[in-house]
Symmetry: C2
Subunit: 167 residues, 2 copies
């Protein structure tokens, strides 16, 4: 994914125009930046026995209140089986409980238990500090510039259908 190619086979990819080159380069850099930040986030939540996805759930429930499992699924971007699995695990640990939805008997809420609320209240401030520290490579205004750009990028990519199978 180097785009200043120095290899003997470089001539074989002459079809790379400047737009493609900038896209590939950004893809590599985006991946590495995400990976680097994710490592910090993971290491932090792992200290409390949580994965990133599990933390995403309890944090969402903490800040939004009880949510339908389907809402959680869309929010933290996991598969349908994934939410079930994650909520099962959090329920076993006594951090989350399931509750019936009065208006739709198909659906169920996930909500934090008292213990779950205490846990999030205890670890969230530290987590925020860890993320800020991990992001210390950018000033606050650069973070906002980056956020603006990445928001456009993400929104467009989410809206775009995956390129269909050709073979």
């Amino acid at each position: 994914m180097t785009h200043t190619v120095r290899s003997p086979v470089a001539k074989k990819v002459p079809t790379l125009d400047a737009g493609e080159a900038s896209a590939l380069r950004l893809w590599v850099i985006l991946s590495r930046a995400h990976e680097a930040i994710a490592r910090h986030a993971e290491a932090d939540v792992a200290r409390h026995g949580l994965t990133i996805a599990e933390f995403g759930i309890v944090e969402a429930l903490y800040h939004v209140g009880p949510m339908l499992l389907g809402e959680l699924q869309r929010r933290i971007l996991v598969s349908s089986g994934g939410v079930t699995y994650l909520v099962d695990r959090l329920e076993e640990r006594g951090l989350v409980k399931r509750e019936p939805c009065p208006s739709d008997r198909r659906a169920r809420y996930a909500a934090l238990t008292t213990e779950g609320k205490k846990l999030v209240a205890r670890i969230f401030p530290d987590h925020a500090r860890v993320i800020e520290r991990a992001m210390s490579g950018l000033t606050r205004s650069d973070r906002e510039r980056a956020a603006t750009l990445l928001k456009s990028l993400g929104r467009a990519a989410e809206a775009l259908p995956l390129s269909s199978v050709k073979e």
Copy 2:
């Protein structure tokens, strides 16, 4: 991770200063953007029976030439067991072969087979187009702006030691 909080428990996190808020917000946006692009990349390489990590390996070998397994590991950011696993799989499919390193008998090179080279030559141009399409939310100059910002972000985060265990 909403930072304009609307929940009944919002008062419980008053310790979030503006720097932390911008960092958390960027973390969410970065994750979603990465996830959205990654879906396109995955869907594309999956058409050829490859994962992103496997594609990363053959692409690196294509553009750089034979590499030590350790070099590959650092380049595509997987664990040591991961490189072994990935190269094993690519070797089984006849895309990659291992070769001894003359100067160090512990080390081994991975190199593309003829078939591997043909595969990359065939799929890389399409892949570049898929990535560019996935990135169509940003103009070329915005991509470069984003790349500059993310490079700083990633470099700093990689250099920073993971926050140590406190309990």
